[in-house]
Structure formats: structure tokens, C-alpha cells
Symmetry: D2
Subunit: 337 residues, 4 copies
């Protein structure tokens, strides 16, 4: 950490800051410049974040040097983490495709979708049993009934299943039925939920909040990792900007940025990022070309009758066609699908 002193800081003020830094167990390193004196603080600065040193007389501001996350960083672990889910690798050479409906609506809808995506080459099924909805008047999911259907389809169709958990109290329950716990964008900083997911032994699919920086996403991953659950998959799903033509703005550059900072696998959700099914193909191809380790795509046999997110769901035939296109793009960048 660097402590920048005000232009008019007194010598006594500089001395007091230096003394305080020593008192906290760090080595101060003074640079007296023409316009500013700065004090370098040598040592692991993370515990220092707690100290409001910027309030000491004469201090102008603090400049952190290290990233605040540790276990999620490439500094901590250089090689890529591969998360294995029911035999499917996420983060390896092959691009993993997760697909399925927004919500479990009925046995028929779920099975029809599961068989269709399996045939098209997807390797994991997604479907929500608990739905976090902006409006209290919208469909909130089938709950436990939905989980039971997921366990059934998992068994019969033979695909691992990911589903969202929205309350810390449900982590254990949901873990009994599915393979991967999803933490949705709106819950990325629901720290009680993160901690509970960290205590679980299930892989966690952690979506970036629409209001969150990459650094904050990695800090939320740190909550899970620091509870000794190392199987975390990150997901870029669009951030909120001023542009109204899509539901969110996909931050495609986050893919290489995260892969530079962290060893964890990164997938992309083109359905929520765009909110429109006819943009999903273009954005999915872009994600694979950018280096994403996987995709999570909404597919519904009858989008026009879907109880949620119909507008952004692909029909099975459109999805199957997209899988063929994605295969070509994956190969062009040296991967398979």
C-alpha cells in the first residue's frame, strides 16, 4: 500500500503516519518528492484495509497495490483449475455447454428439453426450481416439486444438473437433488449464501452481479474458497449500462481479464446478457472465440408458452444448429466442443 501525503503535510504528520505503520507491524518506506511525500508500506496489505489510515492528519489518500483476493488469484495458483461435474470437465480443453429452460415448469417440458439438448451435444442440464423474480406477482418456481423432477430427469436422461439456490437455508436441501449449486447475479453479494455454499461440498456456479466489478466477483469467489470449497465456476452474464437495446451489456473482455487474474474457469451466459433469443447465437460464438470455458444457454421447447424468460430462450432446433456453429468456432481457436 502507498500512503500519499497532502502537499501541505507537516513533518510531524509524516512522522506520526510512519510511527503508526511501524506500530501495525509493517515497514514504512519514505519517498520525499517535490509535490508530495509518499510512504510505501511493505508487507501483506490485506489486513491493513481495515485501518482508516486516510483519516490521519496530513494524509491525502491510500493506494492499494495488491489485489484484495488471494485464493482466487493466479499469484496463489498458476495453473488453470478444472472443475469436474458428473464426469464433465469445465475449464479443460473442451468447451462445456450447459443448457435448459429458465424454470422447471412440468415433467413433460423438462424431459422434452433434456433429451433435446443432450442430443444436440450439451453436457449439463440447467433449470430453476426456485426463481428470484423482480415482481412478487411473477411465477416463483415449483420449489421442492421442481427439485424432485430435476433428480428424476438427471437419473433418466443421464445429464448432470445445475440449479439455483436463493436462500442459505436451502443449500443442504438443493444439494441433495442436483450436481451444481448456482448462485445468481442478484445474490453474488449475498454473503450468508456464499458462506453456506462454501461449506457445501458441491461445485458452485457463481454468476457475476450486474452491478459488480470483476474484482468483486473474485472477492465473492473468495468467500466460497476460503470456506474450503475449491470447485467454483465463474460466469459472466452481462452488466448494467446505459444502453437500452439489450437487457444487459455482455462484458466479453471480462473473459480474458478474469483468466489473467484467476485460475478459476469462466463461462458466459448469452441468454441473460442479451435478453433476446435472436442475439444469442452471435454472442455465443463471440464467447467461445474469446476463450470462454463454457456457455449456459436457455432452451425451451415452446418459448412462446414459457412461464419465464421465453423471449430469450432458443427452440431445440435453433439450439442444435448453434451447437454445430460453435463446434467450428471452438476448433478455430484450438479447442473442441
Amino acid at each position: 500500500m502507498i500512503i500519499v501525503m497532502r502537499k501541505d503535510a507537516q513533518a510531524s504528520e509524516v512522522e506520526e503516519v510512519v510511527a503508526r505503520v511501524k506500530e501495525l507491524g509493517y515497514t514504512p518506506h519514505l519517498s520525499v518528492g517535490e509535490e508530495r511525500t509518499i510512504i510505501g508500506v511493505i508487507g501483506d496489505e490485506r489486513p491493513l484495509a481495515v485501518e482508516p489510515l486516510e483519516l490521519m492528519p496530513g494524509v491525502e489518500r491510500l493506494v492499494p497495490i495488491l489485489q484484495p483476493f488471494k485464493l482466487a488469484s493466479r499469484d496463489f495458483k498458476r495453473e488453470n483449475t478444472v472443475v469436474t461435474v458428473g464426469g464433465v470437465e469445465i475449464g479443460g480443453q473442451r468447451v462445456a455447454v450447459i443448457a435448459g429452460p429458465c424454470a422447471v415448469e412440468s415433467r413433460e417440458q423438462l424431459f422434452e428439453t433434456a433429451w433435446a439438448i443432450k442430443e444436440a451435444g450439451a453436457s449439463i442440464l440447467r433449470a430453476g426450481a426456485f426463481k428470484p423474480r423482480t415482481s412478487p406477482y411473477s411465477f416463483q418456481g415449483l420449489g421442492v416439486k421442481g427439485l424432485e423432477l430435476l433428480a428424476e430427469v438427471r437419473e433418466e436422461v443421464g445429464l448432470p444438473v445445475v440449479t439455483e439456490v436463493i436462500s442459505p437455508g436451502d443449500v443442504e436441501l438443493v444439494s441433495r437433488y442436483v450436481d451444481v449449486l448456482q448462485i445468481g447475479a442478484r445474490n453474488m453479494q449475498n454473503f450468508s449464501l456464499l458462506q453456506e455454499a462454501g461449506r457445501s461440498r458441491h461445485p458452485v456456479l457463481l454468476k457475476r452481479g450486474m452491478m459488480s466489478t470483476v474484482q468483486e466477483l473474485l472477492m465473492s469467489a473468495e468467500y466460497i474458497l476460503s470456506n474450503s470449497n475449491y470447485r467454483v465456476v465463474l460466469c459472466e452474464r452481462g452488466i448494467r449500462t446505459f444502453e437500452p437495446s439489450t437487457r444487459n451489456t455482455l462484458d466479453i473482455t471480462a473473459v480474458p481479464v478474469i483468466k489473467g487474474l484467476s485460475h478459476l474457469p469462466v463461462i458466459v451466459d448469452p441468454s441473460h446478457a442479451t435478453g433476446k433469443w435472436d442475439l444469442v447465437g452471435s454472442v455465443s460464438r463471440a464467447a467461445v472465440a474469446a476463450g470462454a470455458d463454457g456457455l449456459i444457454i436457455e432452451v425451451h421447447p415452446h418459448p412462446e408458452r414459457a412461464l419465464s424468460d421465453g423471449a430469450q430462450s432458443l427452440k431445440p432446433a435453433v439450439f442444435a444448429q448453434l451447437m454445430r456453429e460453435l463446434k467450428a468456432v471452438a476448433e478455430a481457436v484450438g479447442r473442441s466442443l
Copy 2:
């Protein structure tokens, strides 16, 4: 709701949309224009939000006409709601000031602050027992021990107390110790928590998410109201923008915007909005002048030793001086403090 058809929509496609609207129990109203045909849908459109009508052939897009919230709207209730907390009114003629430390750190710190803000004229005490922190390595609050101290200070100093609840499972526990449940910005769309708070009989202080629209804030309020808890106070606390010089960007205009759309009281949090104690005064005066029903301000007897948010906390003497200034501004806009 208005359904806008594509320029090249076939007559048969228009007919099918009209038929579907009737099937759903609504009255369609056709306007054939030069460039577009549009179909007005007469009736309460809220249940329609579920229907992905935009997927029907020939449809270009849907334009909602009504606000999606109902109980929170001025259409539903014209006169201002006044929420009474331990004898203190929020939303009435008098501007209510809530003050206190970010977190309960110790009995001494809590009592010292409580007496100081009471003497300065604040009417409600704030302090966190459970702290949602971006980093798992930061101070997470004293938990139940903090709640016990809050109950004690409430009794002795005689101020109602507001504290944050971060997990649905804690709502009942927290309700036993304090007067107002706070739902923080990061949990504004934690729907499990909103529902649990709705089932409680305690007033709820609901903070706007840092990347949530005013409409979404009112939808989250609707979750609480629709569970029959009508005592909701809204709080503007800054939104996330590209401007780096402050922690968040206070949306001062949200105050009159919300008061136009809703009957619920609105307060402002200048401490989190700015993140810097020396900006709190200016922004607090602005909030009162803009018509806010109250303020929630962080005060700490020794900000330089605070375990969280020290940089944005006022010392008691600075707070007391600010209270005098705010009194003058309140009177200039026809209110008291």
C-alpha cells in the same frame, strides 16, 4: 400494454395476436398506421408480463403502459404514508435523522455514540450487528452479542434502533432486539429476505441497490407490502456510475421522483453515497432541500479507529454542527428537524 407489429407483419399474424389477446381475457384495440400496426391491450396488464407475446410471429416489441408495482404506487394510495417508529415519525412534517456507527464494536463505543447523537438531536440510532462485507477477511460484526448491546442501549438511552438483517433466518431473531429492520443495498433483490421481512410486523428500512432503478426499488417494496407489512421506508444511498471520485453517485433526483410515484417515505444516506466524511455535510443539506423525509448518517466517536467505514464517519462534534445547519435548511423548505 401496446403491441407493436413489424413493418412487414402479415394480416394473418395481426389476426393471431388479436385472437391471443382475446383468449387471455383482454380487449384488443387495433390502430393501423402507415409504418406500423399497433394493438392496444385494455385491462390490468400486470398478469400479462408473464406472456412472451413478443415471440408471436410478426410482433416487433411490447410497450408496457402501467407501472409494474401497485401497492407502492400513488395510484393506489394518494396521501403520504407516515411510518412511526417508537414514537418517531418518518414521512411527516419533521425531518427524521437516524445516526450512529457503521457497526457495533463495543459497549463503550455504542453508548458513547448513542448519547452524543441524542444530544445533537438525532431521533433514531443505527448500528450494525451483522455486516455484509465485500471481503471474507473483513470484520463481519459482533452478531448476537451486537444485538444484545443494541437492546441495552435502546433501553438506557431511550432511542429507537435500526439494524441490518442479512439472512431470512435471522429476521425473527433481529426483530426481538430492535425497532426497525434494515435491508441493505446488496440485498435489495434478495427476495427470500424481502418476503420474510414482509411477514414480520416490524417497520422495514429498504435501501436502494447500487445498480437498481427506482422502479426496481419500488418492486422490492412491493414484495414487503404484498406480504401485508405496510411500514416501509425507502432509502436512496447512491448508485454505481463511471465517476471514481466518490464511492457511489448520489441520485438526488430520486427523492422527488420516488415521492411522485409512491406514497412511501424516502430518506437519504449521505455516508455510503459519498464514502468520504468531508462530503457528508454538503450532501445532507442537499437531501433536506430536495425534500427527503430523513437522513441516515454514520457517526463514530473515533473514526480513525473504526473497524469499518471510518473514512465516511463523522465525529460527534462535526455531527452536532451539521444538525444545526440542517435545521436551518429544513426550515427554509417549510419543515422542522
Copy 3:
């Protein structure tokens, strides 16, 4: 356009709005609903944008139905526009790559780069003679001397040249030396400049402002088109968001969004979008996979000595390697490069 009346609008107020709509030469279309009366306005609504109908008593708000641009829209022209620049097509089957240094710094630097990018397969040279810089103390470009060097390199190396024009008074001058006029992001709404570029007979490369919507970009294109210059190439170069890890946030979805709304070609600038050379490759591959008609990439023989944008410039060898990768991606999506 739809005029939404307030819930409590009087019958006389509705009548007055209807009368005013007729007076303006439009046909009103009344729909009386349970909660709101709405008035559809039939006809080309663009001239109506001028009328502040929302100020008439009883009016709640106006909802535009048509896009405000005309000549730039697919409604106006269905087939893709191909802009030809010195024999190079932008918007056709082949993906066009524009490359070169941020600024013309010297004859040696310019020629070295031009030969290198030509050999690597780029088809147009970019380099700035007039540099719009945030700081008055930064290098502002070589001006006319730079233009002369551009004309020279164009002749000798045999590549068409694009350069930025920053003042309406310079449009004619710049046109004498180069093939394409670039209007930079900061000037996207410099309407004097747009009009002057519209009066020129040169193709225009129009960059999206960093805080402009797609609709505003198309409105700025409309300024050029409506002055009878139909050779406009649009460029997505990143928008400003809250994410600090990159210079801007590339809006990759803007590529298919623009191609849906407009017939004009769209290229992507990965250098300015990211600000970091090691992110350029990933983002370039994504742009081609998403369907961009071209790329504009900064290349400098010695980035560490560049007078501007060194951090985001590729060395020639890195660029040549990227061209090979892009070729594979272009072919995977059915195009060539």
C-alpha cells in the same frame, strides 16, 4: 406515437389532446382502458418529436413507436451496404482489417508499420495526424506534416488510408490526403463536424461515443446520410461503464444489434475498447465471431517508445500471428479474411 393519459385525466383534457393531434395533421386513435386512456397517433411520428405534447394537461407521458432514424434503417434499405475504399470492400463477405499506429510520429515509424501490416494481410492503413487528447500537455499530432506523410505512404506502399478529422474546418484539407475520414468517439455528437463530413464525398468511419447508445450512433450516421454521403462505416469501440479493469467495456452485442437495425457496415476497435495490448487478440477473435465486418487495430513497431497509446499497440509480429488466428475464426463463421 402513443400518448398515455394520467389516471385522473378529465374527459375535456382527452378531447383537447385529440384535437391537437388532428390539428397537427395526424389521426388520433383512442383506447379507453380501466386504468389509463391511451391515444395512438397514426402517421410518421418523427416531426412530432418537436411537439412537447407531454405538457398538455392530463398527459402522463409519450411513447415513441418508430426509431428516430430513417436513412440509416433497415426499414429504408433492406440489403447490406458495402462501402468500397480504394478497391477494398467493407461490409462484404470478406472481413476487412484496418491497422496502424495511433499517431503518425515519423516517416520511418509510419513506413515500417505500413509495410509490416500489409505483409501480415491488413488492407487499410490507419494513423492519426490530428490527435484529440484529454490533456493539453499530451502530444497533439504532427498536423499537416502528418497528412503529407500519409499521402506518401499511401502512394508507395499502396494501401488506402484512414485518418481522423477533428474540426469542421479541416474536412476539406484532410480529404485531399487520405481515403477515409474518421470521426472519433469524442466527436460522435459534434454536429458541425458530422454535417461537414456529410457534405464531403469521402467515406466516413464513424466511431460510437463512449457513452452513446446504438440509437444515438445511428442518429449521428443520419446526419451524414441526410447530407447525401451514403458511404458510412460504423465502429463499436467500447462504452464507459463502472468496470475499471479495462479502458472501456466493449459492447460486443452492439454488432448484431446494429446489423439488425441498420444496413450500414459495422467494425470493431479492440485497441481502444480494452486499452491493453494483451487483451486485443481475444477481443478481436470475438468480434469476428460475432459478425463484425472488420477490425481496426493499433500496431506500432516499438510500442514502448510510442508517443500515444503504446500500451494498447501490438508489435508487428504479434499482429501477424493474430491475423492467422482471425483467418481461422472468419472461416468458421463462413467468411474470409
Copy 4:
């Protein structure tokens, strides 16, 4: 400036950076930490911004310590600058109110407004002769005819006049007719225009771009100041965010932030910030309470017939009432109006 080396930087890489810093005429200051080595660079770092030191092997990133502006900073000039315009002070004890129509539409409209705002207590007239409009089909202003009317009204009514200039070529022309040159939000980074305004001897009202940080606003002011025109007034007029309920989001905190960083006066434009006349009062009161040195408010005798910005214009009677309210707020914060 601080140069942060990578964790795995070689000793030889550190040495090369140190050598380069010396070569550039600066004194390097080495701090070897556990996780990172950092190199402090002593001296005026502004010329260093040009050097892409981050490209040297082993360098992780650069951290600037000083603000990039100089003449605009409080470091350069401690006491407030007061800009005098035709006898009216901006930046002094009295809050200055600039008012008038968006555009000059006719002699009658202009004179009627000018007399009305003068009577209500405004001290400067605003009105546009050249209008930068998003659409080429919107009213673009009366041009020179408008300037002539402004000169006339200035003479007869006796109010100084501010009007916008949108092209460098018009600076001299406009200066002949009015007292203050306004540079609009869309032109805040039109550097040709800034330089031309800097060469003029007229005061400049510089509006913050809707996509610009406070630091960039001050850099744009630096363009004017460094051309020896020291009479610059800054204007906060709302920034672009994701919130759709207002045209822009007024950054009220920018007022104290700018006053902390700079000696220049700061005024607020509540009309463009909100886009809605019924929000102007609340936001104006907030601006004065926050410490703004003035306001610029749109007033039109017949907003419902205005050729531009009717929706955000106050009627004269509403403006007169607001002036009385603002007087009370100004006095509450120790100023007059």
C-alpha cells in the same frame, strides 16, 4: 508516480526500469516488499504520462499520484476564483441565477422571457442561437439571426447574455454578440473548440460531458486556462447512468468534489439534468444547499409551444416562485441570491 513490478519480475528487469527512470531525469526510489517491488518516481510526473513504462518487461502497472491538471487545481491557486460577467459575480458570496429559453425562437419570445426572468431576480440571460441536436431533423437554431436578437435584448433589458458556440470557426463571431461563451456537454472534449475558446478573451461556461469524469472536466478546463483565458465557470448538468426515470442523473456530489479540487466556480443545470420541469424546483434547492455558486435554468413563456426542451422549461410564474424559495435556501447556508 509509482511503478509496481510483477511478483515474478527479475532483478535485471527492476534494474532496467530504474535505469530508464533516471534516463528520463527522475529519481527512482525502490521499495522491495514481500509480494511486490515498487519503484517510486520523484518529480513532476505529468510529462511521464507520455512514456509507456508499463510495457517494460516485469512491470505490472503504473499508479499516478498527482492529478493531471495543474492550472485548474487548488494546489496551484488556493483561493476561489470569482468570474465577473457584465458586473455579475459568479463564485462570490451571492448565488448567481442564469435563466432563459433553450433556444432563441423569435424576438417576442426572447424579450418576454428576458423581462420576466429579470423581474424574478435572475442576473444573466441564457438562450441558444446554434443548437446541437441529436437528430438532423430537429430545429437547429436561428444562427446569426439569433445572435442579433441576443445583442438587442442584452442592450434593451440590460442583462448579460450567455449562448452556446458549437464550432471553433464561430468563436469570434459569437464573441461579438454575447458576454459568455457556453461550451455544451457534447463538446466538452471538442479540443479544437476548447483551444479556440481559450484564445478568446470571453468568459467560458464549460458544461460537464454526460460521459465525463470530474477529472476530465478539469482537464478540459485546463485546455482553456493553458491558453491564458482564466475566466472559466464549470457546470454540472447530469451524467448518464442506467436510471431511466430522468434524462440524466444529476451528480450533486460533484459540487463539493470540484470545489475541493479546483478554485473555479461551479454552477448546476437542473433543467438538462432532469429533463422534466416538475423536478427542477427540488433539484435547484438541493444544488444551492450543496454549495453551488449558481444555477442555469430553462424558462419559456409557453413551454407547450417551445421548439426545443419544452418539457423541462419553467413558466415565468413558476420560476418567480422558485426564486423566492431559493432565496430562503441560500440564506440558510449563509449566502444570498
